[in-house]
Amino acid sequence: MDQLGIMLAVLGAALAAGFSGSGSAIGVGIAGESGAGIMTEDPGKFGLVLLLQALPGTQGIYGLLTAFFAILKVGLLGGAVVSVNVWQGLGVLFACLPIAIAGYYSAIAQGKTSAASIQMIAKRPEETGKAVILPAMVETYAVLALLMSIILLNSIQI
């Protein structure tokens, strides 16, 4: 049964990293397409475009961070493997879900907002500050999900 507990915890870690990473890849891709469109006409906007394209990439990092915490919790990352029963394993799996789900959807949403912001700076480069704030608002919810995942992971007694 210990094995099943461990496997559930690993599944949680995989979901956190996998979903958040996938969302980030899609989001960065969407923003990148827009960025390429702008830079074809105005290569001088590379710096601003790169900043906005990178924003949806943070969810992938949050997912990776959560995955590290999860596997650290069950002792798979250095040190001795601890005994994890099914309920503890399930707890780790559920703790990983907030960042897995919110990370995936918020990264895509942020990618779309970044794409719109990139189009905004194409016409109004003087409004770059506002253009960065709009996609950054979406980031809030990924950060909240990350916080919740970490709090939940910390609250599981193993």
Partner: protein, 336 residues
């Protein structure tokens, strides 16, 4: 039909290309120009400049405008996923070329001369191919169903010698094709735009026919199907005073083109303003899509803005060349 998500690159690039459109400052400088050479000098400092430099005759501007539009169409074709979106805009030029060539042939048969200088390179079909197909009467390879429309037009002319009937057939073919293409891509705004163009063309025709003294039954063949407003409704306008047209069509968006119709002294004055109102209405139809970063309709919006800009440049340069009042010219400028 491409997915709207595929338009991220295209829309962004078009947004950047919008920066090359002429702004109010350029229009103001053109209006402040004393004569045509000084207006052309202003134009040479804009995106049109490179085409003006290539011109041999310093006082002409049409080849430069055509070159700029062609450059934009060629550029757009390279990255827009659905070819229908730019073909819709180039179709009127194909029809124009067909009309020029057919009229040339008809004139030649009556001892007149052809005017190949009126052909434009802005159509979908290369001019040389079109000339070859029509002059050799080998219509088989003509695209967009023209292999049927052109021989039908020739046959009608041979039977009736009525050039208006030929024009009517070609115009009907144009609008049917535009609506068919819009239905193929199935984007809401593209369909709306194609139907709005039919509506505005019908209103323009009704106004002109009323001025020419046509009655409702005579006007019917000049109206095109496929618009948002039924042809019968637009046909009925001809029996009504133009001051009431806006009220009669108030259920449809296209009534915006007639706002203020009652303020005009006569139909002539309304017809002059109608051209601007129609262009502004079509801009309005597409303008709502510019707030969506992935809407394919942004392609139409950009191409329409470019076409409208070209119209503004023509109005200003022709007006300045003829010494027109600057206040009149300002009134004729479309919103870009």
């Amino acid at each position: 039909m491409a997915d709207p998500a595929d338009y991220g690159y295209a829309v962004s690039r078009l947004r950047a290309m919008e920066n090359r459109l002429l702004d109010q400052g350029v229009y103001q400088r053109l209006l402040d120009s004393e004569d045509l050479p000084s207006a052309l000098k202003v134009m040479s400092e804009t995106a049109y400049g490179k085409w003006f430099l290539e011109q041999q005759n310093e006082n002409t501007f049409e080849p430069a405008i055509e070159s700029e539009l062609k450059h934009v169409y060629t550029e757009t074709e390279q990255f827009v996923p659905d070819p229908c979106l730019y073909r819709i805009f180039r179709l009127p030029y194909d029809i124009h070329n067909i009309k020029v060539l057919l009229k040339g042939i008809f004139k030649q048969k009556q001892g007149g001369q052809r005017r190949l200088d009126l052909l434009t390179s802005l159509g979908n079909i290369p001019v040389d191919d079109l000339v070859m197909a029509i002059e050799s009467e080998d219509y088989r390879l003509m695209p967009f169903g023209f292999h049927r429309t052109v021989p039908e037009s020739v046959s009608i002319w041979e039977q009736t010698h009525d050039i208006l009937q030929v024009e009517r057939i070609l115009d009907q073919a144009l609008f049917s094709l535009q609506i068919k293409m819009a239905d193929e891509v199935a984007f809401e705004g593209v369909k709306l735009f194609a139907r709005s163009r039919v509506d505005t063309e019908n209103i323009r025709n009704v106004a002109r026919l009323k001025r020419m003294g046509f009655d409702s039954s005579q006007a019917a063949p000049f109206l095109h199907n496929g618009g948002s407003v039924p042809v019968e409704k637009i046909q009925s306008l001809i029996n009504e005073p133009y001051e009431g047209w806006e009220r009669i069509l108030s259920f449809a968006d296209v009534s915006r083109t007639l706002s203020g119709a009652q303020d005009h002294a006569d139909l002539d004055s309304l017809i002059v303003d109608l051209e601007k109102s129609i262009d502004d209405f079509l801009s309005w139809v597409l303008a709502k899509y510019k707030y969506s970063p992935f809407a394919p309709e942004n392609v139409l919006h950009y191409l329409w803005m470019k076409e409208t800009e070209a119209k503004n440049v023509r109005v200003l340069l022709i007006g300045i060349g003829n010494g027109a009042e600057r206040t009149v010219l300002r009134r004729l400028l479309r919103n870009v």
